[in-house]
């Protein structure tokens, strides 16, 4: 066997715990009431187009992304708008959301809901970008960056290669894995469309080798597509980080503070590629997504296809209910996910999974003084010194925090995961990063 590719610097190997790996996707019914947040993307919230009492159909545009970095929002259910109100979202803050009382399941007639796979590659670059924007597609890996913006290449830069992220390096999560198994062909068509949207001839799909079935299935399918190659990768966290994936697959290092396009690369999640397929070929906006519901004490770990706006309590009920010994509920994976305050938090475009951790797992290790073992430094995939950054942040020495490249931190959590003294490194680094981010933005204003 040839040695598998991976990124070089740092990284950790958390227990994979992919207990829902072999669960085929189960389609969930629409909820009785849907809560559709206006801001489901990185960037500015969308502006609502409907008001209380309006009737809406599935797929109807209900809020428009007006700002440059913003994204359209469509109704994921049919029924009547009850109100536009503040709802707790995954960030733990209250954000504006459209609340819809569901009646029936009536879709916009323009949406093609048939199962037949379409391969129409006649669209122009501009048509592709416009359609992706119209259909409200965002990065589905969790970052939720509006996808059409990613396709608009700044002047002077030239994309050479598209990378499709099928890594799913977070422990527990299996939504991308199942999606590749059940909708692999559509994802590849979506990939071809994205290639055309970017004007590149090459695409690589990176998949970690803990998913051999997905690797061989997509490899087989890829033979029917020009320029698409599947690249098996050695399992290592955080390989799904954009910069790490680019390094692993192409060997190129995105310079500090720059975007992937600097080295001619654009990265999209495999789920995004599928959503792009649906947008372009089926005229279908982003109104549902695959969500893993899992955890050691969960009765039926599952992968669901859920409507955006479905309260996560409904997903958990379908996976066998909240276990007795629940300590923490997390949106996303255990390394980068967000702990949720409320079970009524709705599924949004960026919800890749719901992880229910039992009390035993949530127990944090005893905190002792730093023993200067240097492990946090050696596992940092960005070559930073987490111990130094956290100390400087604690001392509020923002200038030094910035000089030590805090903005390069991708918040992967590898440092804190490794620290034998149980130091809350990332907690402090986040504070430093936010503060320095603010300082940099203010500097820009002056």
């Amino acid at each position: 066997m040839t040695t598998l590719k991976t990124f070089k610097r740092g990284g950790v190997h958390p227990a994979e715990n992919k207990i829902s790996a072999n669960q085929p996707i189960v389609v969930l019914d629409p909820p009785k009431q849907a809560f559709i947040p206006l801001n489901q993307n990185l960037g500015a919230p969308a502006i609502p187009l409907i008001k209380k009492g309006d009737e809406v159909k599935v797929g109807q545009l209900i809020a428009k992304g007006e700002a440059f970095i913003s994204s359209n929002v469509h109704s994921s259910v049919s029924g009547k708008v009850l109100k536009i109100d503040a709802v707790i979202d995954t960030s733990g803050y209250k954000k504006m959301a459209v609340v819809i009382n569901v009646e029936g399941d009536e879709w916009e007639p323009s949406i093609d809901r048939s199962e037949t796979i379409k391969r129409d590659f006649s669209f122009t670059q501009k048509e592709i970008i416009d359609k992706i924007k119209e259909m409200g597609i965002v990065g589905l890996g969790g970052a939720t960056f509006p996808s059409h913006v990613k396709l608009m290449i700044p002047d002077g830069k030239k994309p050479e290669v598209l990378l499709i992220n099928g890594v799913e390096c977070e422990p527990y999560l299996t939504s991308d894995h199942q999606l590749m198994m059940s909708n692999g062909e559509e994802a590849l068509i979506g990939t071809s469309i994205l290639m055309k949207g970017l004007g590149v001839k090459k695409a690589y799909i990176g998949i970690e080798n803990n998913k051999p079935d997905a690797i061989s299935y997509l490899k087989e399918l890829a033979e029917g597509f020009k320029g698409i190659k599947v690249v098996p990768l050695k399992v290592k966290y955080p390989q799904g980080g954009e910069k790490q994936l680019i390094k692993a697959v192409t060997g190129r290092e995105v310079p500090s503070g720059k975007l992937p396009i600097e080295v001619g690369a654009v990265v999209n999640n495999v789920g995004t590629a599928f959503a792009v397929y649906q947008a372009i070929q089926k005229n279908k906006p982003l109104v549902e997504r695959v969500v893993t519901v899992t955890g050691k004490s969960v009765a039926k770990p599952s992968n669901f296809l859920a409507r955006i706006g479905t309260p996560i309590s409904i997903l958990i009920d379908n996976a066998g209910g909240v276990p007795e010994d629940t300590g923490k509920i997390i949106s996303g994976g255990p390394m980068m996910g967000k702990a949720l305050l409320s079970l009524e938090t709705p599924v949004v475009k960026g919800t890749s999974g719901i992880l229910i951790m039992n009390k035993q797992e949530t127990h944090r290790v005893e905190m002792l003084p730093c023993i200067r073992c240097g492990r946090c430094v050696s596992v940092c995939p960005m070559g930073l010194e987490p111990i130094l950054l956290s100390q400087l942040s604690r001392l509020q020495m923002w200038e030094d925090v910035e000089k030590q490249k805090v903005m390069d931190c991708i918040e992967c959590g590898s440092c804190q995961y490794t620290c034998p003294s149980g130091r809350p490194l990332l907690d402090y680094i986040r504070v430093g990063k936010n503060k320095v981010g603010q300082i940099i933005r203010n500097r820009g204003k002056k």
């Binding site: 950790v12 310079p255 500090s256 255990p334 980068m336 949530t362 034998p420």
Partner: protein, 332 residues
């Protein structure tokens, strides 16, 4: 109630305790060898040092700092065993208690305890004892022969190979003339030579080091840089003048080199945190050890060399940053 806290939500499950007790396990071969060669004397010194180090730490935490008592984290035990490793087996028990006091109270707790001490506590203890009690610290019992025989009486003492070398060269003898007085490579490798409790057997120490490497308690960086530098330096001198300078293999298996390389220079607290820094530390310690051994006043230089490099550690940390991802120009 749901717990809400920042990511990551899982931990790799490594702990200070696991690391410290891992070091203790790694020292077991050397402990056994020392008891084999020096008998119960060695055992008493080991026990006294361990118990008094833990006791002093408890005393300071309980009555002076009045904070949490963390003596079960294993770090005081490691310091105690290492201190015992650094003294002769026939040292009076009260002296080892004084040494433990210096190790824990002066070199560790006065700086703030675990993780805060700039110098390796056990080495500070050793140097303190060496300067305060030079006679007791340099009178070595003869180990019992490798095969057969029993541990010899306390009263019978003998020099260490490095001592023979230093004195001999000083008196104008050549190295080849001195070599017949030495125990020989095989004996030195196994531990049949005069010396401190934990330093005599290179084999036992390497075995422990191997265990720590496999368990990733230590990395290869510091030991490799240390050994290569030391070997190269002593080797070149030997090539230049074999009558004045002993060969590098002799230097590797005698004195406290292996103990220093694998158990002291790899101490996390007092050495650099980056791989680059560790390499620099190793090179520095290797050079200094060789220089002190060959031209210094003492026959052995490991302890001084590591302590001097400990002092440079903050500087090394500042000067040798890890290679940042996406970094083009190397910044100093």
């Amino acid at each position: 109630m749901l717990t809400v806290s920042g990511s990551p939500h899982v931990h790799g499950d490594d702990s200070v305790k696991k690391i410290m007790y891992g070091v203790v396990y790694a020292m077991v071969p050397a402990i056994l060898v020392s008891i084999y060669f020096f008998g119960l004397d060695a055992l008493w010194v080991l026990l006294t040092a361990s118990v008094s180090c833990i006791f002093f730490e408890w005393l300071v935490q309980k009555f002076i700092i009045k904070g949490p008592v963390t003596i079960n984290d294993g770090s005081a035990l490691v310091a105690g065993i290492l201190l015992a490793f650094n003294v002769p087996a026939n040292i009076p028990i009260w002296i080892i208690i004084v040494g433990s006091f210096v190790t824990i109270v002066v070199a560790k707790m006065s700086f703030g305890g675990l993780g805060k001490n700039p110098f390796n506590p056990a080495l500070v203890g050793r140097i303190f004892l060496l300067i305060s009690f030079p006679v007791q610290m340099t009178t070595w019992p003869l180990p019992k022969p490798l095969y057969g025989g029993t541990a010899v009486m306390d009263a019978v003492t003998g020099p260490t190979p490095l001592g023979i070398l230093k004195e001999g060269v000083k008196m104008g003898k050549t190295v080849p003339e001195l070599m017949p007085e030495m125990p020989g490579y095989v004996n030195e490798l196994m531990g049949f030579q005069g010396g401190c409790i934990g330093e005599i057997s290179a084999i036992a120490l390497i075995l422990g080091a191997f265990y720590m490497l496999v368990r990733r308690i230590i990395t290869w960086h510091t030991p490799t840089a240390y050994l290569l530098t030391f070997f190269a330096f002593t080797g070149i001198l030997h090539l230049i003048d074999p009558t004045q300078y002993a060969d590098p293999f002799f230097h590797l298996v005698t004195g406290g080199l292996m103990l220093g390389v694998f158990f002291m220079a790899t101490d996390m607290v007092s050495t650099p945190i980056t791989y680059r820094g560790m390499l620099v530390f190793g090179v520095g310690a290797g050079l200094l050890t060789a220089i002190i051994r060959i031209w210094g006043a003492y026959p052995e230089g490991v302890a001084f060399a590591i302590l001097i490099m400990n002092a440079f550690t903050p500087l090394i940390n500042r000067a040798f940053k890890p290679k940042r991802f996406g970094e083009k120009v190397v910044q100093a």
